[in-house]
């Protein structure tokens, strides 16, 4: 027994992981949050000129009037609308692809996989300019509709991949049981499959929404004169970015934090329930 303990403890003499690694990991987190902290601090800056770069003094007045710039508010609205539509379409189409890939072996699946990988890995400049050449060739007027076309396109692969990861742990016997008990394919899907993969589908929908709201490059190629929030902010940099942008950015960040916390809590509760049921059984 003593010999065994000695053996197990031997590697511990070389403990690089004791403080260097955790310190490094926490430094990385500081680096990741640095621009976010700057954004939030400058949302409270009492600036009077056009540029919100130098710290002047503390104020909360930008939070009292975040939507006073009409074109900015319009751009936020456009962003939310296009991202919501794109999210719904992409989530449905992406989930269908994930289901097909999980359950069936079919001809052309390798091609589909390659297209998904290429779409995720390709540079946005390439995708955006390629889409633009297509729209130019067919004289498609650029605007809200072309933005939605593009956003659905680049969200589908992320949804398919996310839902597929969730499906990997899915027991097909559950579906077979439902069908043996006389459920139709639709009943099986809505009563058995969907409730089980729902966390994955919701996570995928959120991811799609986030990347649509965030996208600048592809959207800028196909937007024409329509402005989304990132496009408005980019255009504003030449004249000076108003503090309202920092305020809206802060709202977006807080929204993201809240949604992730909700997910984390829901998962913890679900895990506890599973453990409790396992303990009872």
């Amino acid at each position: 027994m003593a010999a065994h303990v000695a053996v197990r403890q031997r590697p511990r003499r070389l403990r690089l992981g004791s403080w260097v690694l955790p310190a490094y990991a926490h430094l990385v987190i500081v680096w990741l949050f640095a621009p976010i902290i700057v954004m939030i601090i400058f949302a409270f800056n009492d600036t009077h000129g056009k540029f919100n770069i130098q710290w002047v003094g503390f104020t909360t007045r930008w939070f009292a009037h975040p939507f006073t710039i009409q074109s900015l508010t319009q751009a936020v609205y456009t962003s939310l609308l296009s991202a919501t539509i794109a999210m719904v379409i992409a989530t449905i189409l992406g989930t269908m692809i994930a289901l097909a890939c999980h359950r069936y072996a079919f001809r052309g699946r390798a091609v589909l996989d390659s297209v998904l990988v290429m779409n995720i890995a390709a540079s946005e400049v390439v995708i955006g300019s390629a889409l633009l050449t297509l729209f130019i060739a067919f004289n498609v007027p650029l605007g809200f509709l072309t933005i939605v076309f593009a956003q659905v396109m680049f969200s589908i692969p992320f949804v398919a991949v996310t839902v597929r990861a969730r499906l990997a742990g899915f027991d097909p016997a559950l579906e077979e049981a439902a069908q043996d008990l006389g459920a139709s394919p639709f009943q099986t899907f809505f009563l058995v499959t969907l409730p089980i993969i729902l966390p994955g589908v919701l996570a995928a929908a959120l991811l799609a929404m986030a990347i649509c709201l965030d996208d600048y490059v592809i959207t800028s190629f196909v937007a024409g004169n329509t402005e989304t929030f990132p496009l408005w902010v980019y255009g504003a940099t030449r004249l000076g970015v108003p503090p309202q942008v920092n305020v809206i950015g802060t709202f977006i960040f807080i929204g993201g934090v809240l949604i992730s916390l909700m997910f984390a809590v829901a998962r913890t509760v679900a895990n506890r329930r599973v453990e409790r049921e396992a303990a009872q059984a």
Binding site: L14, I97, V125, I136
Partner: protein, 302 residues
């Protein structure tokens, strides 16, 4: 007796009616049709048009004609050789920086963060909820010549007053590394997380110290994730133009910027398409290489 009575029915069950078999064979195609169709129409077809446009000649006023004008490629590559070099240099530096920053952090979270693993992973990803454009502008504010970081250091004369971070290759590279950090972090974390802990334990039981365990067990097993991260970070970083726009200067222009300008300002579509298609060919080459060694699993699962 009962068994023989059941037998014909189950034999029939093994071979369902033609209608059912056709329906079953068609199901996967019906499921993928809308999504795959959307991708074909708005992703694959545009790439074909990009290739066609890159071989055209003409201009916005007189119109463009397709005449297999390969000259766009040689002209573009020669004219923008410096910008291509910048793309490779800054994109490469950014990928290296992201790898050096992400790997130890991912390793620590996967192996030593214990029950707080999920929380740490979430924290690492939280900043990316904020728009990419705003994040980059914030870096510009933070690193500006008299900004919150350099201003105080210059006031107490730790730094000379003409010291700059902005408009340097380092600023652009670190901006790119920051922007595409999740694409490096997530595949590396996923491959580390998947490693069977019993392998680590048995290496320790066989008298390996931590460095040896890392070198001979953990690092080789994490390589698919590392290469996936390098691919997913490097490809978008090479072509990005936002970071270079905010954090770079006149001397750091990358090809992404040139492509965007040629499309939106100069309307030289054939030249811009040729430059963009060079990237597409590079991407395809790297993906094929990756697929040969590792398959597509690491790129699209987890």
């Amino acid at each position: 007796m009962q068994a023989t009575a059941v037998k014909p029915r189950s034999a029939e069950g093994r071979k369902p009616a033609l209608r059912v078999r056709v329906a079953r064979a068609a199901t996967p195609y019906l499921l993928i049709f809308p999504g795959a169709g959307w991708l074909a129409l708005f992703f694959v077809l545009p790439l074909v048009f990009l290739a066609i446009t890159s071989l055209e000649s003409g201009d916005f006023i007189t119109g463009y004609t397709f005449d297999m004008n390969f000259g766009n490629y040689s002209y573009g590559i020669n004219l923008y050789a410096a910008q291509f070099a910048h793309s490779i240099e800054f994109g490469g530096l950014a990928t290296l920086a992201a790898l050096v920053i992400a790997y130890p952090a991912a390793y620590w979270i996967a192996f030593h963060a214990g029950p707080r693993k999920a929380a740490y992973l979430l924290i690492v990803l939280l900043p990316f909820f904020v728009s990419f454009v705003i994040r980059t502008i914030s870096w510009e504010t933070l690193l500006s010549d008299y900004g919150p970081l350099l201003g105080p250091l210059k006031n107490v004369r730790v730094l000379p007053s003409d010291f700059r971070v902005l408009a340097t290759p380092a600023a652009v590279s670190f901006g790119l590394a920051y922007t595409f950090f999740p694409y490096m972090m997530l595949p590396i974390y996923a491959s580390l997380e998947k490693i069977d802990r019993r392998l680590v334990e048995s290496a320790e039981d066989l008298y390996s110290n931590r460095v040896e365990v890392f070198r001979h067990v953990i690092f080789p097993l994490s390589l698919p994730g590392v290469f996936a991260g390098v691919l997913l970070t490097g490809i978008p970083a090479l072509a990005d133009f936002i970071n270079q726009d905010f954090l770079g200067g006149v001397g750091t222009t990358m090809v992404g910027r040139v492509i965007q300008q040629q499309f939106e300002v100069n309307t030289n579509y054939p030249l811009a398409s040729a430059l963009a298609f060079v990237f597409m060919v590079g991407l395809l080459a790297m993906l094929l290489l990756y697929q040969r060694f590792f398959g597509t699993k690491e790129l699209i699962s987890d």
